[in-house]
Amino acid sequence: MFSFVRRRMYTSALPLIIVLLGVFLLARLTGDPTNLYLPESATPDQRAEFAAANGFNDPLITQLIDYFKGIVHLDFGTSLRTGESAADMALRAFPATLQLAITTMLLAIVGAVVIGCWAAYRPNSLADRFSSLLSMTAASIPDFWFAITGVWLFAVLLGWLPTSGTDGGMLSWILPIATLMIRPLGVLTQVVRGAMVSALSAPYVRLARSKGAGDVRVVTHHALRNAAAPALTVAGDLAVGLINGAVVVEAIFGWPGIGKLMIDAILQRDFAVLQAAVLLTAVSIFLLNIFIDACYALLDARVREPARV
């Protein structure tokens, strides 16, 4: 298993460097942030002074070398907007996103397994059609619309939940998680259902039934284990999307996470914060992928062992 993880780490290093390089270059293509940080009436001299002080006049290659030197020394620069360390800002925001993403993903997996198994066990039944409709609808609803409607319905109209923020204890988690979960739940339910339909019609399941295994045992011990691999692969991709794509939820619900930090950094051309946030996110996605691969290997021995001729 260790050598498997080591192999995955080597193969992921290059994409990580490409991501960092891409973000560095793309951020600078969006223009000089001087105009954003100085008043509109600032003189040309003041603008030139600001640009020089922050290295925006340096050749791109010089800025790039400085950036990678900084990474080596764990110095990610200072936020233009707040004057804080960019690394501190990213590290402070990241746990909030991680908590939200992990909780959402785990609830989505549990929900998808239950609904998907239920639908697959009685294919083409009313229950199956209902679950398909539910999951297709869930996968199609825009998260922005769902979030605003949720605030209006559950906070304003019914008064059951706080509108936003993190002050409301557990209640404040419900709307952000529901918003974030709805798409992965819909997609995963379809994947689990499809995989379970195939698994339940496989010869080994018929053999298990012929040997007297009960319905629950057939589903949980035989079919689900084999259906888990494709579901896990899709869940991994969706989890990456959650870490990267919680921007809308964080913006609407005032969740102090890294998605909101990144979008603010982009809009404010706060390069240091953007780069620190992307690096942290990329590393965590890289670790998540290793974790998913490890789970995959745990489920399927063929993945662990190199192919033998």
Partner: protein
């Protein structure tokens, strides 16, 4: 046979354990929902202040919290009358053509207990204007001017300028006072000031709490604390207000749903089309006139702004020195616009050349629809107009000189707010040939602007009013749209009347519990 559960269930079991652990150990959730402290004012802003540095307080997101709440200036402008009122200075006078002398108030201390003296005042002005900190207030109010400062005694500070400056006290009113112990090499995020409130705690990313300053020199403010949160979505800010989670919600639009809790107010902002009259076909006066005849200001205000605004005939609203009350709206006359474009075409002006109409996303409620309507109106007049909506950073390239090379003919939708209350702050920027936000001008008109800037009192008012009357005939760089109005969300629990400065500096001390306030519900 093994009795261990299959791997999938082990993974799920770990997952559920993690859910429980996450849910019980949420570091971002910290208090119970419901209830509030009646002695705390709860405010939701549209964004977290990037800093509370006083010399950055001309930034709206900073000034709305810092100005006159945490720190105070020597003098304060009455946003309704335009009058400059004493604050930390009790009086000021021009003691020589290039010097103004300020007499400071007795008995003022900073929130850390240190007394406020002329050394602090001179230090604060020097730090904000003359230092290398690149303070926003420096660029906004003083440009590249260097001030000379003297402190003859503990209660007197003398401010000198290179050239006579009749509105120096107004400029100085933008400088917030800080103690001499404040860093001169770095900006400070959490300043010490003399204001009615001091920072109690700032949970970055979540909320900011101010508490009453026990050493405040003036009457104690009504609320013991003020708690700021921030949400970027206007509809969520409005929902927080209607759901009784906050008492004040800023920056609402008519569509956000605050209902009766939304209080409209004039916010000093004016929207306009700024025409780059150096490029054909916009360099033809008839085309610029046609643009003005095309824009249906009254219709835009009524239909798109839902009545929240006044159709505009000049760059500044009533209440700012230099406002001309006699100017009439440019008439909406599509036929006349078409005729002017046809005349220009007949004379060889390339009216078919594509004109870029550049707008800024989310600049004000309904900005996208406004740009679309204007594009349609200009197309009806016979012009070839293409919409380009940009984010702030990209749009600023077309708002501020120098514009990008080969930008071609473009019209920028601008929104200008005159915080200072004097037309000089608008005209110098937008109408001089070399103004940072001006697309073009004429030498004669520049001289007229320069002459107006040297005047005081009634003569100054008349000179600037004349500038606004003359600009459409001598230059015609703008098609004004509307003097805007904002909406402040306010719960029935609080008594407060928003004023034109509310969007830039929201005085907590002006907010009091309403007589019909409910009792503590916590």
């Amino acid at each position: 046979m093994s009795h261990l559960p299959p791997p999938m269930f082990r993974v799920l079991a770990m997952a559920l354990s993690a859910v429980c652990a996450t849910a019980t150990g949420c570091t971002v959730a910290n208090s119970g929902h419901g209830g509030y402290d009646p002695d705390t004012l709860r405010i939701v802003l549209s964004q977290e202040p990037p800093t509370l540095e006083p010399c950055e307080s001309s930034l709206t997101s900073t000034g709305i919290v810092t100005r006159s709440n945490i720190t105070e200036p020597l003098a304060e402008r009455d946003s309704t009358t335009g009058e400059l009122l004493p604050l930390l200075a009790t009086r000021w006078e021009q003691t020589s053509p290039t010097e103004w002398t300020f007499t400071l108030r007795d008995g003022v201390t900073f929130s850390n207990g240190a007394p406020f003296s002329s050394k602090d005042a001179a230090f604060s002005i020097d730090r904000a204007v003359n230092s290398d900190l690149n303070c926003n207030v420096d660029g906004y109010v003083f440009g590249d001017e260097v001030l000379k400062l003297r402190t003859p005694d503990a209660r007197t500070v003398v401010v000198g300028t290179a050239e006579p400056d009749p509105i120096l006290p107004l400029r100085i009113s933008f400088v917030e006072m800080v103690p001499v112990t404040t860093s001169t090499t770095e900006k400070v995020r959490e300043p010490i000031g003399t204001g009615p409130y001091a920072i109690e705690k700032w949970d970055y990313g979540q909320k900011l709490t101010l508490a009453r300053n026990p050493t405040y020199w003036g009457p104690a403010p009504a609320f013991a604390k003020a708690e700021y949160k921030w949400r970027s979505e206007g509809s969520v800010r409005a929902a927080m207000l209607t759901n009784d989670e906050v008492d004040i919600a800023v920056g609402l639009g008519p569509e956000d749903g605050a209902g009766a809790l939304g209080v409209p107010f004039q916010n000093n902002e004016t929207t306009a089309l700024r025409i780059t009259g150096t490029e054909a076909p916009l360099n033809d006066m008839r085309v610029r006139q046609a643009i003005n005849y095309s824009v249906n200001r009254t219709g835009i205000v009524k239909a798109l702004f839902r009545g929240l605004g006044e159709p505009a005939a000049q760059l500044i609203p009533d209440g700012v020195v230099g406002y001309n009350p006699d100017l009439q709206l440019w008439p909406h006359d599509p036929d006349k616009a078409r005729q002017l474009v046809d005349e220009a075409r007949a004379d060889g002006v390339p009216v078919d050349r594509q004109i870029r109409l550049i707008g800024r996303n989310s600049q004000f409620p309904g900005v996208t629809e406004t740009v679309e309507v204007i594009q349609s109106e200009l197309a009806d007049a016979g012009l070839n107009v293409k919409i380009e909506m940009m984010d702030t950073a990209a749009q600023l390239q077309y708002q501020l000189q120098p514009f990008p090379a080969n930008a071609g003919p473009f019209i920028a939708l601008i929104q200008h707010g005159n915080q200072a209350g004097d037309a000089a702050f608008s005209v110098d920027q937008y109408m001089r040939t070399d103004g940072a936000q001006s697309a073009f001008g004429t030498t004669d008109f520049d001289k007229q602007i320069e002459a107006a800037g040297k005047l005081t009192g009634e003569e100054r008012q008349k000179a600037y009013a004349q500038i606004f009357a003359d600009e459409p005939h001598k230059v015609l760089q703008f098609a004004y749209i509307a003097h805007m109005r904002g909406i402040l969300g306010k719960s029935a629990r609080v008594d407060y009347t928003p004023n034109p400065a509310t969007g830039d500096e929201m005085l907590l001390a002006a907010m009091t519990p309403a007589s019909s306030d409910r009792t503590d519900q916590s």
